[in-house]
Symmetry: C3
Amino acid sequence: MPNASLWTLSNAQIAVEAVAITAFAVSGLLEAARKRLDAVGVCVVAGLAAFGGGTLRDILLDRRPFFWVAHAAWVWALLALAIAAMLFLRARHLDPTERAMQWPDALGLGLFTASGAQIALDAALPPIVAVLMGMVTAVFGGVLRDIVCNEIPSAFRDHRPYAVCSFAGGWVLVLAHALAAPEWLALTAAAATAALLRALALYTGYTLPAWQPAGRTRG
Amino acid sequence: MPNASLWTLSNAQIAVEAVAITAFAVSGLLEAARKRLDAVGVCVVAGLAAFGGGTLRDILLDRRPFFWVAHAAWVWALLALAIAAMLFLRARHLDPTERAMQWPDALGLGLFTASGAQIALDAALPPIVAVLMGMVTAVFGGVLRDIVCNEIPSAFRDHRPYAVCSFAGGWVLVLAHALAAPEWLALTAAAATAALLRALALYTGYTLPAWQPAGRTRG
Amino acid sequence: MPNASLWTLSNAQIAVEAVAITAFAVSGLLEAARKRLDAVGVCVVAGLAAFGGGTLRDILLDRRPFFWVAHAAWVWALLALAIAAMLFLRARHLDPTERAMQWPDALGLGLFTASGAQIALDAALPPIVAVLMGMVTAVFGGVLRDIVCNEIPSAFRDHRPYAVCSFAGGWVLVLAHALAAPEWLALTAAAATAALLRALALYTGYTLPAWQPAGRTRG
């Protein structure tokens, strides 16, 4: 595990990570609540949203153990979060919670982008593949969440920049390594780029150019 | 393959296994029939329902060969089953078949839970991860079946206990091993717990507490 | 990588391969356009359609690196194709493009079937599993494309032979190897069988026998 340093974090870093994972898990809880899933579905969808992206990246890179296997306490924390949500979350909380979670979610986007792309670079993969792995880590938890909930993934149809911010952050990481920057600086710059671009997009309401031709759907 | 003993079974055990796999495959056949899939779809969905959970577990645990690769005769049996169903199954058979299959399906839930969790314990994974792997083995065949058929997985929205029975059975296995019970006893107790809880839930019509807040769906 | 010979191709073979991958990617572009996905969705769905089948096969066979990791230039080519499509493709182009792509798509079906089944045979897998791996390579890119786009995979409900042609081509490969045919001949015969059967099915409009019982869908 050449990148163990990523997870031997200071307390401040652990706090940031906890915020990011919680934001991703809550996005799964909210989607599950909207779809009226039962308790099992709530836990599974929250877990997919939080850990699905990193797990898919590790399957693609053939890395073991997964984060949630090496740190099984996170599975318990996720179960506790899901049970607390089922006890206390009401329909009128869903939209305010989602809006409040946008900012820690942007933080998670940055953090997962940087760690995922770094892991791929450590494995000596080509730059474009490393950038894709950062995107998979950051975005595909939400994609799996939406597929299980029988929705077209919001990352692919939302038109507000999300994966694109991760893409840009990944290239910052690649560039910083090409310039021989120290790893902590490269990771911080990549995570900050992705998170701040996402925050900027949320703040300004910018949307990607629309795809013109879709005038109908297949029957 | 440290757990080869699981599959070097007596004739009675092979019969139980065949009943369980067949029940899972039939759940795929019925779903494919309801969705009017063609012959290819029927075979694929039946195969996913029967072998998808174990295959996903083996991908997560990085184990090879898969059950259906090591025992390729099962692939032929599945094709024969699907073709027989297409020749003989009629619309009026769908609901009675599904009801008749609930009991062998409960048996499969127990059997797959016990074998999946045991494989994870043999790989020295933490107890909560072993329990999850039992659930993946028993439940995710049906999840993949429903995703391919463009449904929210019934295991996540049905409110009748299914994955929860598998969860309980997994903990029985962990507990039995912690008490140094012999492996055959641990496996039997775990499988029986999951299967009997499921049968009890079907018999009593018990449902999990509903998730209150879902008053609307996202547009 | 025992089958590196598959990818050390002459220029003619590279051209055939490029046509096939492009046809698969365009099927993803068209589906994404119909579903009004944004730029990220268009690129991801095109990539899944082109490389998803081979990637899933490699995950199942535990092979690395993936084709698109070893040949990262293809990722750039795919991005360029997706951007060009978004600039130039209009709604009135969708149906004509899809019809024009049926023939290179049949070529891709044959090519991916032959290479996928050959890789499985090289790994000493049983014949039926090798045939399934050819089908996974050729068909599951489209399956993943349709799942992400929230459709029942067209390969499973279209009734026009598609996976069945791949199945037949895979058996030609197995048979040719059993007869000790040289590898180039076996590959060519398998690819030609699958592609020509598909072209014949398109030309004649033949459909698989319908599955009778489906008189209703589950609520």
